[in-house]
Symmetry: C3
Subunit: 663 residues, 3 copies
């Protein structure tokens, strides 16, 4: 679609009374121009096995079309009907916790032929019904798809075959995974034990990888079916979601998003985030950077919060700030979960744009201003692009491996990602995400590498080469430690990358009242979670540990290697220290500039519009009026239409937004 | 019985040696005039299937009768014998956690015909043996009966039939419970999924209600059997227990006490409460008010603590204060769990009146004074009655619904009940409890309504009418929100009652550093748990929120409606604020008086004796000597026999009691 | 072996490459003279049912022999191969949590004939292969053997037979265990319910005892097989481990170590302990005292930590201090778990002497100095013996009973053991452990008795007699309360021992802001966990409770009885108070001396060498240099060879050690 989409999820099926006309009127008033329908209502559309009823789809499509509102149709496969479970109880996924039971959504075995048979049938029925309807602009396959821990006997059998194909020989398998340990050795493929009880982290991580691959296969299969029906101007998307920690943040542990995104036309995502006094924009930025990076292009925010939970209901001005923050990261659609608030069942307190009373309310009223602005600014804000020079390398394999080998204080991979990403955000260091299989690493000037705990040799060599050829890398502790099979490398650590980092260690300890001292100093906190006792070979020491016993060892180092530099942070240093380290890296990579000198409340995001002009979003993440210096070529603030002079001092209202298009 | 009963639970079966004669002698010394026997010793009385041995019952009955001690005989059905489980393992309740296993009591499926067959047989055997014995004054059916989560396939089948009868059509069922959501729709009765996995709060709450109904049916069935045997002067009671939070407090979630009490002659209850420095009398008062309200008449405290746990062993004087506190609420029996302390098994540290050594001890010695006083004062303290003008409306349906939709900080329905009840107690506002099906609402002048979250329309309309006709109501937040099927109402909130309350909201948030400001002010704390952003229509605002973003909204309001007034507390305000609100409501309902002006340590409870004279219990819940003004007609302090002049200053010993009978 | 052994666990099977030659060279450099092999690699040695491959054993034996390094061969039975579980899934132990699943070690039913058949076969194959090899000095049967909670139907059947044999009649069974309670009575042996669900503590504790007996039987069976093969100079040991609370401490709940040790030639143990700033030596001392006491002779530390976890990696000097601390308690072998750090699977972060890179590191370098010293001092430090006058009486039965009847604050038996043992350690009171079945109680002058909650009458009478004949005992609260069937005694408490203690109680409460006052006073804390309200009959009161309600009762008493004295500590008093009580007991038992007057950082341990000379280990458990007075006959410090004059002031380096042999 060549316009900004402002949308909601809409379920005529959930309405306590027939309100379609009133709802559409209120949507129009709010500038809503797209709705997402159908993806979780299989039991309504196929009330009995083989009996179909798409009347609610039909009537919504017709009414929306008449109102000029577009529709994205979801395949209804992520929540299975009661009749299917009664007929075939074995469609429920068997997990490490045992047999499943009916009730929630996302409980089936996504590899089960019974499920796949019925899923394919309803997809085809639905597609053939809607694909020619003029309201339909695209499709979503399934929703927030994951593997749901499926691990029953049929999945185990597939896994054994996968392992035989991958490792070929029993001896190779045992050696790579270290199965001799505690007598776990498998001496015949027939003896392969159910993997759900394994205590072997290498085997466990392989199973995690296998399960993630099931998701890729399932989604690609759905896309292939939908593609048979979709017309020229329609798209297929998926609603990816991030790790859930009470909100959306972090690499998704159950899906390899980078691989899974391949068959889709455009990436869609869920982004739910803290709000009220905890609204910082970090989660919006993280989710946006990740979504944009999956296919290196703009994306849709398919679900984000309107009122949502009682602790998220936005303060006046926040809904608007959030909407522009999504655009600033590259979103071309912002849609709310969901239109109204649900009157029964489970998500009653996950409130929509409307409350349960369907009346206008302060949040809806704020949405009306957003919808109007989106419509007015659509031409200028569509087709924005980014040319980031900084990337963060993340890895499902590293995440999975660190679940099997947790840090002593319970912090996990995404905690380390967040620890680094937060400081990037605070420094207005706009970045992309890259992945172990990314081909375009070399386009960046600075790469941040959180805890690349499990990685193949080639990747580490490639990163060395990147530095050698003039790139900058900032590594965290734990990087390089194990290979792709989560076998710890037998060489000196940090394995392979020690070449570029110019530093060694073979002892690591848990910090207990440990500070840092050195050129990058901090009085603002102590080391947490993990510390590696570093000895530089060629590196310069940025900080030593401040501790009576470990004081001789380095904590943070920087090394010139070829034409580039590698910084190694050997411990979970205080955020302020990370801030200094990243800032130094920015400077040395010649990326430091005006954006790093804004007041701390102000986030700036830069894009190029379709004419190649720079468009900057200035976002005030505070309840106070703040001032900032606009230091670029003079331009126009798009919302107000006011001209902004170069080097002028600008005022941003509480939770305010400026969009400055440089001339 | 037309005398005060002072009793213990007594199990000859648990005695390590034959001590019946010594025990009876010690009971007589302590004024014990009733024992409760037999309710948990099925395996002794029916050692093998169909082989009965009531010799321990016989010998206890004979010996007690000879000693002039009355006996209440329990049906032994709440703990099943080993042979039954070996013969029919399926008598164990299957719950949402899976199959049961033998060991604890209260583990059977109370609907299972095998269990019912054996239960009926032993009840009839026991009844036919004891009902003519002159020692027997009454019966207890089962004990602390609940549904034990029974939810196996047979219970599921009953439930589906119950649902079909209640909802009649599939479409009605799906619409009322919102089953379209997440594809939970049931399109054929045959498809009805096992309810134990449901995530639908409306369906879940229906199942809770159905399970509570099983308890009613089971108890009524037992009573009908016992009634065939009981003689003219015998009674049938049940030992009801309250929600267990380490002690007895709150509406029982698994039983609808009001309905379950119907077939019984008199209500019996468990009341266990904090002690030592935490003894306040609140739990005794709550339990008593509830017990008295179930049949609107006096009740028996069938179990309360003697020594009990190591953190409850009473300080000198507390056992006596507790005993009179029960009488002050309307109890006509106070009985301890239990006579001695148990030497094996599970409740070894739930100590009785005697320690394991069976010797006199300080607690037993204090009981001797109580027994003597009870005997002496029995004529004056029997047949007391109350004419409370205040009632608290509680609801199993609201409780259950709030379990499905918990407050964000985990507080539950009974936390809100307690938050209001505690302040009533501190204000010496004596109250009854009323229930959604209570017919006599109109006899009160002031009704307190905690979180009436799920309620039928008729009840809310009736409450509006109560106000219109001159009544006063104090509502808490969450009232009126959902209907009886836990479907959120689609009207403006607080639904229906907004008419009497003159206030609206459609946004609610979690408080975070929120105070209150207004005519009822408080510097003593902040709002917790929940806050509704109220906008008055016709109401007067008693307090606004003190918060930079939500400060425009009202927190507590009061509205004139017809001839009455409704106060609405939109948030979990600090206790002190509630105190002020309730006090204002008391004043406006013309119920404020001398009892509200006593020192905080002094609780007063008022009854009428059988001659219509006022009898007031003054209870000193502190370790200090306190003074209070006696402001009523001069009277006699019954324990000491001393005359109390009107408007005299009285001294109450630490943990002391005065019982003043006005002349 | 007539020399000090310094060793490591070594698994050629786990090595990522063939490193045997390099490893042996590095071992020789470090003075390693023994390795332990084979005990957890069944799946390598029997890759398929009945197909054996001991090539890794052969090659290690040959290479070690050539290098002069001894080998202890373990039977590989504690981790079963995959093929066995595939063939016979029922070898997995069924526990109270249900069926087992493959993955971890120690998951089988040690009573299952299939397991026993295969275990016997591989033991015989291995023994016949290695027993004549000159490298082999001994054997370890299995490893850290426990019952793994085995409780399936076959175990239940055995248990019923055990109970029938023990209790003979049903009536006796029911009476002793109190099964009438809550209808748990068993009226026919056929009705005996699965014990896993029991709530009867007496029955539960019987099952615990039965399960511990299964371990004894299993180990004795293994020893009997190995004994058929072992040659004259070889030994058989077992690696016992203590209760695991994140480190090794306390009586092992699943094994009766005293009985289990009987068939072995020498006791071996695991000792893992806190380190870095938490290194105190207490756990080393506890484990050593226990190990030495099992057979009243010296023992092997079969596993202790080298680098281990990130929070245990030793500070410089600590590894050496630890090694000598083991010798000081009577160890003649100190071996690390394990040689290298593991590259896959589960214990990757339980690091060995070498890191994953196999390079020398600071910990390995420190081991080199230890190995050299051990070799040099072997003659002088072998064959040390102790003649302690103090014993601590511990009991599996008391431990188990207190698991069924926990203290209100969750403290358990081993918490009470630790509370007393810690103060003994701080007072340099060297002690042995004794057990309910120990025959040599009378050789001691002072016995400490922590919480002897369940004990047979005879034991208590024997302790009374010990006092009467001149002995000193310090009892803690809870002693004497229940008999061996965990039936609370019906006599006055502390039952039976009240005779020697001269004190009574029948009320106990939970302390809440309770201090102590009296001749042994303390301002350093309050009573925790438990307090018995003591009334002395003949005892002297050492401390009363300081509390407004319980102040009349005694807390700590001492009683002259016959020629001896019994102190009774009725509450969990602050450590400082225990310190005073123990010190007074020491004085009165005429055991107080110079060792009690050392600086708090200095631990001293005394042995006699084979010539009868006293050898004292002075151990500095601090990071500071400390001074102490050497007050004994002048002697020689063995490590430095320097002469130590009597009454000289000595300096101990941080984490330093002196070994002074008196001349």
């Amino acid at each position: 679609m060549n316009k900004l989409l402002y949308g909601v999820a809409y379920y005529d099926e959930y309405m306590p009374t027939d309100r379609l006309a009133e709802d559409i009127q209120m949507m129009q008033d709010a500038g809503i121009n797209v709705v997402r329908i159908a993806e979780s209502t299989w039991s309504t559309h196929e009330p009995q096995n083989g009996i179909f009823d798409f009347s609610s789809v039909d009537r919504v499509l017709d009414a929306m079309h008449e109102a000029g509102i577009h529709v994205i149709v979801g395949t209804p496969t992520y929540a299975i009907p009661t009749w299917m479970v009664k007929e075939h109880p074995d469609v429920l996924a068997v997990t490490k916790d045992g047999a499943g039971r009916y009730g929630a959504r996302q409980i089936m075995d996504i590899t089960h032929p019974v499920y796949l048979f019925y899923a394919e049938r309803i997809i085809r029925k639905l597609m053939s019904r809607v694909s020619r309807h003029p309201a339909v602009i695209g499709y979503q396959t399934d929703n927030e798809t994951k593997h749901y821990g499926t691990a029953g006997p049929n999945v185990q059998l597939k896994f054994v075959k996968y392992m035989r194909e991958k490792y070929e020989s029993i001896d190779h398998l045992n050696a790579e995974l270290g199965l001799d340990y505690w007598s776990n050795r498998i001496n015949s493929w027939e003896d392969f034990p159910a993997v759900v009880g394994t205590i072997n982290g290498s085997l466990g991580a392989e199973f995690d990888r296998f399960q993630r691959q099931l998701v890729n296969e399932f989604l690609a299969w759905q896309v292939s079916i939908v593609n048979e029906y979709k017309t020229e101007h329609q798209f297929v998307t998926q609603n990816f979601d991030f790790d859930w920690r009470g909100y959306s943040y972090g690499v998704q542990s159950s899906v390899d998003h980078y691989a899974a995104a391949e068959p889709f036309d455009i990436v869609g995502v869920d982004i739910y985030h803290p709000s009220q006094d905890e609204l910082t924009g970090i989660e919006i930025s993280f989710g946006g950077d990740m979504a944009r990076s999956l296919k290196q292009k703009n994306y849709y925010v398919i679900e984000t919060q309107a009122q949502a939970f009682s602790h998220w209901t936005p303060y006046p001005g926040q809904l608007r700030l959030q909407a522009y923050s999504h655009l600033a990261s590259g979103a071309e659609m912002v849609a709310y979960w969901h239109w109204h608030s649900i009157h029964n069942s489970f998500e009653t307190y996950w409130k929509g744009l409307l409350s349960h009373d369907f009346l206008p309310n302060p949040v809806y009223n704020e949405a009306k201003t957003i919808g109007a602005d989106f419509a007015r600014l659509s031409d200028q804000l569509m087709g924005l692009s980014k040319q980031n020079k900084i990337a963060i390398l993340v890895s499902n394999e590293a995440l999975s491996a660190m679940e099997w080998f947790k840090l002593p204080d319970g912090r996990n991979y995404n905690d380390i990602v967040r620890w680094l990403y937060d400081e990037c955000y605070r420094l207005n260091m706009e970045c992309d995400f890259i992945f172990p299989t990314t081909s375009n690493i070399e386009q960046y000037k600075l790469i941040i590498v959180p805890a690349l705990y499990a990685a193949p040799d080639e990747l580490l060599h490639r990163l060395n080469q990147f530095v050698e050829q003039g790139g900058h890398i900032v590594y965290s502790f734990k990087s390089g430690f194990a290979n792709d099979q989560v076998k710890v490398r037998t060489t000196v650590q940090p394995a392979i990358i020690e070449q570029a980092c110019g530093v060694n260690y073979n002892i690591f300890v848990s910090p207990n009242k440990v500070g840092l001292r050195g050129t990058i100093n901090s009085e603002s906190g102590s080391v947490e979670s993990w510390m590696e006792l570093l000895t530089p070979t060629t590196a310069e020491v940025l900080a030593y540990y401040d501790h009576p016993q470990w004081g001789e060892y380095a904590a943070i180092t920087r090394n010139q290697y070829g034409n580039g530099e590698a910084t190694y942070i050997g411990c979970m240093a205080p955020g302020e220290v990370v801030h200094h380290v990243l800032r130094a890296a920015l400077e040395r990579a010649e990326l430091y500039g005006a954006n790093q000198q804004l007041p701390p409340e102000v986030t700036v995001k830069t894009s190029l519009d379709s004419d190649g002009k720079e468009v900057r979003f200035y976002l005030n993440y505070s309840a106070a009026l703040v001032q900032y210096s606009y230091t670029y070529t003079s331009g126009k603030e798009l919302i107000s239409g006011i001209t902004i002079e170069s080097n002028s001092l600008q005022k941003l209202e509480p939770w305010g937004v400026h969009i400055v298009q440089a001339q």
